[in-house]
């Protein structure tokens, strides 16, 4: 058992949902209950395997790859099936394993129109495999394959189950991401060839780049390619415009997965691939990444203030929040990158929860127009409370998870890695801090307009407006608990990511000296 876990645990975890999807394929569409059960079981199996792995994980050595598996795959280009877990990927794998079963539970009564639970849940399962696979991959080709596997189910999810402008949104999403991936792939291949065509393994490539002495110029160019690929996924200003559309049009489940996990593929790519492999390129790019990040923070916040649609507002807030994550990464310090990882997890939980709420509000009120909402606390007090806590978490209130992604990133930009311009980053710090005010402004405004006050005439006696239902409880409460627990015990996450991140941070300390 133990050796199975050590050798095959990750593989089993990655492919368990896919197996579930294959089983579902054999079952006729009308047996919805069975489909839901299979989907839930396969995600829970994946989650259970993940939990066993996490129990078995040696946290004292969180900086090293564990449960590694490295097998022959595509020999002709030296691509190998290499997977593993370390302190950097563990939090994100855990996030994915945590959120997806909740999404499926939420789907129990909430299959969006035009129905077809079978196809819908199968897409979620395929997405699941793709997402975990991306986080555990240690080989660039494998990473790329998983990275792209994610794309198609999402495309269909938006395109089929989405809102009115779903086709436009899904195509925009697809085109944007594919555009970035193309550059990313070119960068990967160029990197492979420039380092002698020896390996696609990430750690090995990092060593090779050092030993081959790739010039800074080359590194900058390669980093640029990866930047486009990952930056669009994040999404960074000015590549963010796909996000509000995709989020607004996507079904609730799609929005939640998109916000909770998919966006993190981009940021994870930065800290797992682009920065460790190309440190000198990263140093050159960091100020620009920081600049785009803070523009994103302010821009996203201002965008939020102009929104009239709740879901779109939340979508814009993602731009701002991911700006903090990217700012943390851009500092290239242990503090900043730790904050970024925390920020990813926190944003995943919080924004995921916000999208869940938006979905449920939409279901009850049949609108998300902020002007028409109000008095949620009167009509559905429990839901109003969840909304209140979530917005507070989202605006970075200490004691809730959002804060630990935000403040350490601001702190870190006061003193970025050596070799980066301090003055520039301090300006970023001030701008980012101003962003926190704007964040509070739009989120509280949202809270005030939706939760406070009294319900408008049209909804006052609407029997459809009920308080939280059982599957909403089951799906939301665990997320809420995590938000609060992580808020008070940030060490839970920082201690996991710290070892790996500080090893990364030391590269830049050494580089600057």
């Amino acid at each position: 058992m133990q050796s199975f876990l050590e050798n095959w645990g990750i593989t089993a975890m990655v492919f368990a949902p896919l197996v579930g999807a294959l089983i579902m394929m054999l079952i006729p569409e009308r047996e919805e209950g069975t489909h839901k059960l299979i989907a839930l079981v396969s995600t829970v199996v994946a989650g259970g395997l993940g939990a066993l792995l996490m129990l078995d994980f040696d946290y004292a050595k969180a900086g090293e790859m564990q449960f590694g598996r490295d097998m022959r795959w595509i020999e002709i280009i030296n691509a190998r099936y290499a997977v593993g877990l370390d302190g950097m990927s563990l939090p994100l794998v855990a996030l994915t394993l945590f959120v997806v079963p909740l999404v499926i539970i939420y789907s129990w009564d909430h299959i969006p129109s035009p129905g077809n639970a079978k196809a819908f849940l199968m897409l979620i399962l395929v997405l699941h495999t793709g997402m975990i696979g991306t986080f555990v991959a240690r080989d660039l080709v494998l990473f790329f394959v998983f990275f792209e596997v994610v794309l198609l189910p999402m495309y269909f999810m938006i395109g089929v189950w989405g809102g009115e402008k779903r086709l436009y949104a899904s195509i925009k999403f697809f085109l944007f991401t594919l555009f970035g991936s193309a550059f990313m792939l070119v960068a990967f291949l160029a990197l492979y060839n420039l380092t002698g065509g020896e390996s696609f393994n990430i750690e090995r490539l990092a060593e090779l780049v050092q030993s081959e002495g790739l010039s800074t110029r080359t590194q900058v160019l390669l980093f640029g390619g990866m930047f486009l690929g990952f930056g669009i996924k994040v999404p960074m200003f000015p590549f963010h415009t796909w996000l509000p559309d995709a989020h607004t049009q996507a079904p609730t489940q799609g929005s939640v997965i998109l916000a909770a996990v998919l966006l993190k593929l981009g940021t994870y790519g930065f800290i797992r691939i682009a920065i460790p492999i190309l440190p000198e390129g990263a140093v050159e790019w960091a100020p620009w990444i920081g600049l785009l990040a803070v523009i994103g923070i302010i821009y996203g916040a201002l965008g939020c203030l102009a929104q009239t649609d709740m879901k779109r507002l939340i979508a814009f807030s993602s731009v701002a929040h991911m700006g903090y994550v990217m700012l943390g990464i851009a500092t290239l310090t242990d503090f900043g990158i730790n904050a970024a990882i925390f920020g990813m997890v926190a944003h995943g939980l919080i924004t995921g929860l916000l999208f869940f709420l938006a979905g449920s509000i939409k279901e009850r009120y049949h609108t998300l127009e902020i002007k028409r909402l109000g008095g949620l606390l009167v009509q559905a007090p429990k839901m109003g409370w969840v909304l209140g806590i979530t917005t507070m978490a989202s605006l970075g209130l200490p004691g809730l998870a959002g804060f630990w992604g935000e403040f350490p990133a601001i702190l870190a930009s006061y003193n970025p890695a050596p070799g980066l311009n301090q003055t520039v980053f301090r300006v970023y710090m001030v701008v980012a801090a101003i962003g926190t005010v704007l964040a509070a402004a739009y989120l509280l405004w949202l809270l005030q307009r939706t939760a406070f006050g009294t319900p408008s005439e049209e909804f006052i006696d609407d029997p459809e407006i009920t308080d939280m239902q059982w599957n909403e409880w089951v799906a939301w409460v665990p997320m809420l608990i995590m938000v609060i627990v992580l808020g008070f015990l940030p060490g839970l996450l920082f201690d996991i990511s710290n070892d790996k991140v500080s090893a990364l941070g030391e590269i830049f300390q050494a580089l600057g000296n």
């Binding site: 201002l302 403040f407 301090q422 509280l444 060490g491 991140v501 941070g505």
Partner: protein, 805 residues
């Protein structure tokens, strides 16, 4: 007073005090609605226990100080019962210096940075040299580090100093005594959470739990029958917990967390009646204004973090600020940033505008949060990081500095505004603004003890006043309008009247009430009155202080007159409030009488032949001491000498001002005691064309002119102008910025986002779609045609490859 073990236990487990209300919050939230008293009993019980512990801690602390003062040679604290755990080791080299040294109990919260394991291995067996010096004496070893490891721990932080970036490089001289640490780059920057017990925090523990308890009791009557009764008590508990958590901070990180948490409780409680938009607007305004200040807090704390060599520890930052390791320029920037946070939290000009609006919340909340405790958080933070501000603003040598200036401006501006309010709570709110300015003014003049003492006394009498206002409004059918619905209440509610009188007297600085002692000390602290010594030459702040002393008495006289004297102008019979409301009032009034005597000048004590030991007790108990703070005469931190003549002058000034106001209103209401229309100053009656009409009609126009010119002459235009400025310019800027950012947001969204950036995207989409339309024409559905095209294309492409490549 206590056995050493008990004292040690108390100081080590002081975390229980915030933990209890936190537990209560959770319990009320989950079970409150099912309980007979809807959760109020849990809240009260937890606060009672917390208060008892706080009282015990206070006495233990006092005992600690007293025994240190008696110069006993033996160690003040014994080791813990098991020899291994020595959580409390007083860093004292000499008992005299040990007086007031903070007692820190910390556990690691989380850590960021390279792993310390390798470093600890390197320092195994290293003596704990330098351990005593760096102030991190006391560390609760919960995670099983041995003492040696702890030593390594601290040393690591010093090594980390080298990391600090170019212009904040902390002198790494400390690392020398670290010995072996230098070779390994050990930078484990652990962020601790814990409790810091010293005079200042103990004082706040007492104040917060005391007032919280009274407010809890008061609220059971005041918000009786409210539909969110349970939530109300839950948030009261949460607030109490958060405030205590903040007060006990050992690290700036903890301080920030507590700071924001009290903010959110304030938000929730201001917006308690969120059905009305005005209330939720006020809540939003409070939160957002505080957020603006928080920018400064976050940045300032970041600067200090790196300047102190990557540590959040408050004693460590203070120590490095005192010994000059952190450059003065850095301290100045940090202090300016932190000042922004103080301005927002403690209602200083120009960020004070949220505080009067915050009166939209229930009155007990205003008493607890917006008068006695939360709003003094800014002042408390100045005290906590006093060396940073002291050196950063150059308080020792200057005649005016940013802190003193802001404090002075606030105290005068806030006081002037109190004159034009009809709403009794708004008067008190502006008065709070003014008094907070007083505290900041004191701290800005280096009069640390005076500032803290005023914080202490103000908490009692202002809470008393707010609760009194609540009682009045309870009687007058939930109105706060002094002019329309009050008057003559003296006869109907004597308990409320007398307690309100005592509170007002204390606020106005009438001897021997509490406010007199603290206010006097601040005026003395300016050091410009003959023979007072002090920090030097604060002429302008002194003038501000004197003006405020007069104004305070005047507006309180006006409030009392309008509320309690004359004839009742409301409808129905008012009635005295119940025991649960009046008892807290009486207790608070009692405190407002006695607490002033805690810090009597020694001259006064001698004059009355009281034992010398009674003099400046507060100063001894609260003022920080020990290595990690900075009581040395060479940085100008000396105590001013009290002056009897100044006390008399200030008191006379207050009495005169108050008397003049009373005279004015007597005359005003003598004509028609039931009138609800009277406006305040003379000038306010001139507007428009009615001026000429009034001039004829008003026979006593001259009288008005005289009284108006003397009593309210300046207060009319000045206060109106201030009010106008406040309402239009400052609020206008706030609203304008809000509007502007929404407009900018609209602009960006509509023009740039939707047109420019999306335009590019859609453009490419459109061109693809156009091409598609063209190609669509070719789709005849004829497989033959497709095949023809395919083979033809194959031929062409193959030809290209063959002939061209």
């Amino acid at each position: 007073m206590f056995a050493a073990e008990e004292v040690s236990w108390l100081f080590r487990n002081v975390w229980l005090i915030p933990a209890l209300p936190a537990l209560s919050f959770v319990l009320i939230l989950f079970f409150g609605k099912r309980l007979p008293f809807k959760g109020a009993e849990i809240g009260i019980a937890s606060v009672v226990v917390a208060f008892s512990l706080a009282v015990l801690t206070t006495f233990a602390w006092i005992g600690n100080i007293q025994s240190a003062e008696s110069h006993s040679e033996e160690a003040i604290f014994l080791e813990g019962p098991d020899g291994e755990q020595t959580p409390i080791v007083l860093t004292a080299e000499e008992a005299g210096e040990a007086r007031g040294a903070p007692i820190i109990t910390e556990v690691e919260w989380f850590s960021i940075g390279p792993d310390a394991n390798k470093v600890i291995l390197g320092t195994e067996g290293n003596s704990d040299a330098g351990h005593d010096e760096d102030g991190h004496s006391d560390d609760e070893d919960e995670d099983g580090h041995s003492d040696d490891e702890d030593a390594g721990h601290d040393d690591d932080e010093e090594e980390g100093a080298g990391f600090g970036g170019d212009d904040n490089v902390v002198d790494v001289a400390f690392a020398e005594d670290g010995g072996t640490v230098a070779e390994a780059h050990g930078d484990r920057f652990s962020i601790s959470i814990g409790t810091l017990v010293d005079g200042q925090s103990v004082m706040m523990l007492f104040v917060v739990t005391f007032i919280s308890l009274l407010v809890h009791v008061y609220s059971t009557d005041y918000v009786k029958g409210d539909r969110r009764f349970t939530h109300y008590f839950a948030f009261l508990s949460l607030f109490t917990s958060a405030m205590l958590f903040m007060v006990l901070s050992t690290s700036t990180m903890q301080l920030i967390v507590g700071w924001e948490l009290v903010g959110v409780c304030s938000f929730a409680l201001i917006g308690h009646w969120w059905e009305e938009k005005a209330n939720s607007d006020a809540a939003l305004k409070a939160f957002l204004t505080n957020r603006v200040g928080d920018i400064g807090l976050l940045i300032g704390m970041s600067i200090l973090y790196f300047a102190a060599g990557r540590t959040f520890s408050i004693p460590r930052i203070n120590e490095l600020a005192v010994n000059g390791t952190i450059p003065k320029g850095t301290l100045t920037i940090a202090a300016v940033c932190l000042m922004a946070a103080v301005m927002s939290k403690s209602g200083q000009f120009i960020l004070h505008t949220w505080l009067p609006d915050a009166m939209a919340g229930p009155t007990p909340v205003s008493a607890l949060i917006h008068a006695a405790t939360m709003v003094v958080a800014g002042v408390y933070m100045i005290g906590r990081l006093y060396p940073v501000f002291f050196i950063g603003f150059g308080i020792a040598g200057s005649s005016i500095n940013l802190m003193a200036f802001i404090g002075g401006l606030t105290t005068v501006g806030g006081g002037a505004l109190a004159f034009v309010q009809k709403d009794i709570k708004k008067v008190l709110a502006y008065s709070t603004v003014s008094q907070l300015g007083y505290m900041v003014l004191a701290l800005g003049m280096g009069a640390y003890t005076a500032g803290m003492f005023h914080l202490f006394t103000h908490a009692f009498f202002k809470a008393c006043l707010f609760l009194g206002a609540g009682s009045v409004s309870h009687a007058c059918h939930h109105s706060f309008d002094m002019k329309a619905d009050m008057g003559g209440l003296r006869k109907y509610m004597p308990k409320t009247f007398w307690t309100f009188m005592i509170g007002s007297g204390a606020l106005a600085g009438i001897p021997p009430l509490a406010g007199f002692w603290s206010k006097d000390e601040i005026l003395v602290g300016a050091g410009v009155w003959p023979n007072t010594g002090g920090n030097g030459t604060y002429y302008l702040p002194f003038v501000f202080g004197m003006i405020t002393a007069a104004m305070t008495a005047a507006y309180m006289a006006r409030t009392i007159w309008l509320t309690f004297f004359g004839e009742y102008r409301g409808h129905d019979e008012p009635h005295e409030s119940g025991a649960r409301i009046t008892t807290p009032l009486i207790i608070l009034a009692g405190m407002a009488v006695v607490v002033g005597f805690l810090n009597m000048p020694s001259g006064f004590v001698k004059f009355f032949g009281a034992p010398e030991g009674l003099a400046h007790r507060f100063e001894d108990w609260v003022e920080p001491a020990g290595v990690s703070t900075f009581v040395t005469s060479d940085n100008g931190f000396t105590h001013a000498k009290p002056s009897l003549s100044l006390a008399i002058v200030a008191t006379l000034l207050a009495l005169t001002a108050g008397g003049a106001v009373v005279a004015y209103y007597r005359a005003l209401y003598a004509k028609d005691s039931k009138a609800t229309e009277y406006t305040d100053g003379v000038m306010s009656r001139i507007p428009g064309l009615r001026a000429g009409h009034k001039f004829l009609e008003e026979k006593y126009y001259l009288d008005h002119l005289y009284t108006g010119a003397i009593a309210g002459g300046t207060k009319g235009p000045l206060a109106r102008a201030t009010d106008w400025f406040n309402q239009n310019v400052l609020d206008g800027i706030v609203n304008g910025v809000g509007k502007l950012s929404v407009g900018l947001g609209n602009f960006i969204y509509n023009i740039i986002d939707q047109k420019a950036i999306d335009g590019v995207v859609n453009g490419s989409g459109n061109s693809a779609s156009g091409a598609g339309q063209f190609l669509r024409g070719m789709q005849t559905g004829q497989v033959r045609q497709y095949a023809t095209l395919m083979f033809g294309a194959t031929a062409v492409v193959a030809a290209i490859f063959i002939f061209a490549v």
